[in-house]
Symmetry: C2
Amino acid sequence: MYREQIKVLDCTIRDGGLINNHYFTDEFVCFVYRALTKSGIDYMEFGYRSSRELYPPEDYGAWKYCDDDKIKKVIDTADIESDLKISVMVDSYRVKEQEFAPADESPIDLIRAATYVKYIDSAIELINKCHDLGYETTCNIMAVSREIEPDLVEALDQLAKTPVDVVYVVDSFGALYCEQIEYLVKLYREHLPGKEIGIHCHNQQQLAYANTIEGIIHDANFVDGSLFGIGRGPGNCCLELLIGFLKNPKFNLTPILKVIQDYMIPMRQEIEWGYIIPYMVTGILNEHPRSAIAYRKTDDRDKFAEFYEQMREAQE
Amino acid sequence: MYREQIKVLDCTIRDGGLINNHYFTDEFVCFVYRALTKSGIDYMEFGYRSSRELYPPEDYGAWKYCDDDKIKKVIDTADIESDLKISVMVDSYRVKEQEFAPADESPIDLIRAATYVKYIDSAIELINKCHDLGYETTCNIMAVSREIEPDLVEALDQLAKTPVDVVYVVDSFGALYCEQIEYLVKLYREHLPGKEIGIHCHNQQQLAYANTIEGIIHDANFVDGSLFGIGRGPGNCCLELLIGFLKNPKFNLTPILKVIQDYMIPMRQEIEWGYIIPYMVTGILNEHPRSAIAYRKTDDRDKFAEFYEQMREAQE
């Protein structure tokens, strides 16, 4: 698939940070920055811009806050000419201070407002503010597989009136099948004339990559992936697969494979992500992965049949 | 997706046998037989019916040959009332004697003839013979991602005149995207009026399950999966995902999850399968996995970037 408008965003440090409390070393972040630059990726998401008041710094690494200075330091260390744009995410519904420098004084190019439908007003407030400061903006409406359509449509219609650049279909629970992705992307396009549509998928059912392709086929132009799929539980669409699919000659797979062999393979010895049955079960049942996360911390972690029965009973 | 005509075939023992030379214990095969019975799966493939003359018994386990007596012994040991039908595969182009008892004297219900397009005549001969003996038959045309369409169409037109029950789209290299699956399933349907279409996918690019769904959407009614996706390299479509998708109430996921926790998880400590980058590379490049298999046996097994560069150069 070659379409020049397609933009690829790597969320390794941000989504990966959810499984290590955002404690990636500067060395690793710097290596990723260089690799993504060489691979021709469009955006690199460094993490969250969270409030220290809500998330105390003694509990989290630097990428929970993504201070401008910290990002600048990594970029300076990388010491490479780069077209890679920088993104950070803000959970618009759980943030206190929202301090951003004007875009032209910040290393950040794109601010992504993550929200649930019911908190859409908080996202719109953030988007307006960031747009006025000169940032590109997206709205990532999470857990869309559990939303009632009229509520979702109302949120989309509100977003249509804002300066937001991109609105994402986000399958937080890894529960959607390709036909539903097609339906949602078309729905978003219909209600968001002139906006770009994005797609961010999770891999509970090994559908993250396939569903991302499905989104692309139906004209989603912003697509997210992470290195070796790193992310909470089953993780995300694998960036390396995505680059294998996109035929724009500006992309180069080799530097991505190099980070995977040098960093991701050893890292997976330390922290768990990938195809893991309890998460597959939450995906099938369209549930938040929190039950699987909790179950994997117990001695019963590998009792898959029991977990499935418990989850089904809870749904009845 | 609920469609009564859909039949699910488990190829755990057959495709899994490719990575352990078909040395599964009787205990394991028996446990799988019981689990598939309880789960309402339609067919269980025990292995290959290969010639001992070509594949000496000192090199392979029992499931390379699938003698009727051996299968009967496992079924007797399982000691469970079962509607599960039994399948074996024959590589029609590399077999010497093709001795089959009449179907009513054999535990086998279905014989699947695997072939490449160029050996289609050998498959047709086998299909005719097995049909006359009373077996159900399929033709599994392998590596279809590398075939030229007129040759493929000629093979399909020949098959249309045989008594074969099912013709499979087989993505041996895990190279196909969903649009190509749609195209092929429709092509098969067009040239095979009155026949059922099957779909058998490999997981090089994490698309086996998504492509199987795509096949189902376009009316493929025979679908293959294996427990925890076991198979050579990246393996197959995961049976547990497939059962999560199919809404026929006759299917039950719990016994499948039980085999996975009790047998497949420990087994994967011993033998490698799943999402492995060199296989992903062969999938992207539409190559036979043999180069990845060989590479994984060298000291360079985790040098992904180097492998990719070598493979690309070889294609230029």
